[in-house]
Amino acid sequence: MSTEQSYAPGEHPDMAPPSTEVGIIGWVRHNLFSSTTNIVITVLTIYFLYVIIPPMLNWLFLDAVFVADSRDDCRAIAKAAGEELGACWAFIGKRFEIFVYGFYPVEERWRVDIAFIMMLAALIPVLFDHIPYRKQGLWFSLIAPFVIGWLLIGGMGLNPVSTDKFGGFMLTLTIGVTGIVGSLPIGIALALGRQSHMPALRMVCVAFIEFIRGVPLITLLFVASTMLNYFLPPGTTFDLLLRVLIMVTLFSSAYIAEVIRGGLQALPKGQIEAADSMGLKYWQSMRLIILPQALKISIPGIVNTFIGLYKDTTLVIIIGLFDPLGMGRASLADTKWQGLSTEIYVFVAIFFFVSCFSMARYSLYLEKKLYTGH
């Protein structure tokens, strides 16, 4: 290596980096074995994974029983196969429908299926651009919520289904998606209102945000389920689920407003000045210049709030609605399947993890897509 060739200034060619810096070897050296501490941590981590993963796989899959009629049945099958007792998924299998549909009448469950498919179809044009027929798709997204509402509640040609029959994953999705879709625009409006030059508007927004943030969601849900009956004139019926939807939406919109306010304040003042100097009106500046940038900065915070909201839907059990967690607990009372709480909680955890992890990944995708090098 001592024969370094000499080059005239500015003539030195680009050379390939040493092999220890690139490829798998480079990666392993840099990330796993770069120092003594790093080597110790790497070895310990590998040992930890070795201890944890095989038993977990055994319990989840290899020793698990997928078809059985009761917990004793599960035990018998495992014993007959000469295995240790793993998860008794047969319980989940038997209960699956109630986890998905709650107490929704069996003969009407096709409506929930169609509503679910419509929801997915309506989300696609909103979440992704660069898809064919996006404009028509967005129109579909706009009317889909009403059709979905009609399908779920019924009336106008369909058998009406009372909302206290809602439960399981469909209840989580109903509350979660309504809360997310509703709280974003309200949150934006509150954030802008809080920055407004009109004192009255500003104070209303500040009061609303601070009140909502200062009160636990459970309290608001209790208010929704009991107190409103006192406030409203006697005889007014106000659907419990609707009250919950409103409360959850308002609750998360206050948080969204604060997240977006952070984004608004992160923008340099020059952006609004440039927009002003070109003669753009307030709403044009907001829509074209300020909000696209502020929302982009706020994506991690917004998605964080949405994930929190989604998981908080499990709190509705307190006011007598049965989300998957509530369903699971109720199922435990079945004497045939007693003692299978682990299976239930793992199953519910997987459902929530898949939903929330998708949101997190989508937020990363969005951040990457909107990155413009500044």
């Binding site: 020059g270 000045e273 070109m278």
Partner: protein, 258 residues
């Protein structure tokens, strides 16, 4: 940029386009601008200089109402600046502005930056607005950057885009607020060249800058401000060679020394 003063060759009309009369401005209780009087004719190229904090940026920012004045009159293109939003909008359509930090919109491409205001403020069809944008981007010599984002350009290129963006609104007056102060020395010239070009085409320009070479070449009038007042104004020849006021002499000796 030629070193020969060429200001004399450029035509200035008698028509007054900006008229500022006994104008005062306060930031809270701080009196920033004190009794400013200024008349600008069409075709004038005015350089405003002075120490920092002297109110020169505030003065030109009052002209398109980025700052509100509290006393006196400002009349631009025969429209008086009042709280009337209609007047403010009318004036902003006629007056373009370039900022020290460019203030391009980072989430839009260069072309979208330029076409945005014509489309939304003047209701120009998108295609036409984009053609105009390309025309001005060509004039500031960066048509090839049209589809990039501002964050991918150098400072000098960004400032030229900002100039093109203002020109797309077809303004009658251009305000420059220290357009080269945030640039590396190598990039200052490319921006000044564009501004000189603009002056040659007869644009009315008010420029806050410390580029004295630019003032000598292009300006027909130099205004010196200190502590919120116009201390001295003269043609560049007299201003640089024969300053009247002590404060001006001190300022010039400091700025020309290095």
């Amino acid at each position: 940029m030629s070193s020969q003063p060429e200001a004399a060759q450029l035509e200035i009309s008698d028509e007054v386009v900006i008229k500022i009369r006994e104008m005062h401005k306060w930031y809270g209780s701080f009196h920033v601008l004190k009794n400013v009087n200024l008349e600008v004719n069409r075709g004038e190229r005015i350089v405003i200089c002075g120490p920092s904090g002297s109110g020169k940026s505030t003065l030109i920012r009052c002209i398109n109402r980025l700052e509100e004045h509290q006393q006196g009159d400002i009349i631009v293109e025969n429209v008086e600046l009042t709280n009337d939003l209609k007047n403010i909008d009318a004036i902003r359509r006629e007056v373009g502005m370039c900022f020290q930090h460019f203030n391009l919109f980072p989430h839009l491409t260069v072309l979208e930056n330029c076409a945005l205001a014509p489309i939304w403020v003047k209701q120009v069809p998108r295609k036409e607005a984009e053609e105009t944008a390309m025309k001005y981007l060509t004039r500031v010599k960066i048509p090839e950057q049209a589809d990039k984002f501002p964050g991918q350009l150098s400072g000098g290129q960004q400032q030229r885009v900002a100039i093109a963006r203002s020109l797309c609104m077809n303004p009658k007056i251009m305000l420059f607020d220290e357009p080269t102060s945030a640039l590396d020395p190598e990039m200052i010239k490319e921006v000044l060249d564009v501004m000189v070009e603009l002056a040659r085409e007869g644009m009315t320009m008010l420029c806050v800058t410390h580029e004295m070479g630019f003032a000598k070449t292009v300006a027909n009038r130099v205004i010196f401000m200190d502590e919120g007042q116009i201390i001295e104004e003269n043609n560049p020849h007299e201003f640089f060679d024969n300053p009247q006021h002590e404060r001006t002499k001190l300022f010039l000796s400091q700025i020309l020394a290095h």
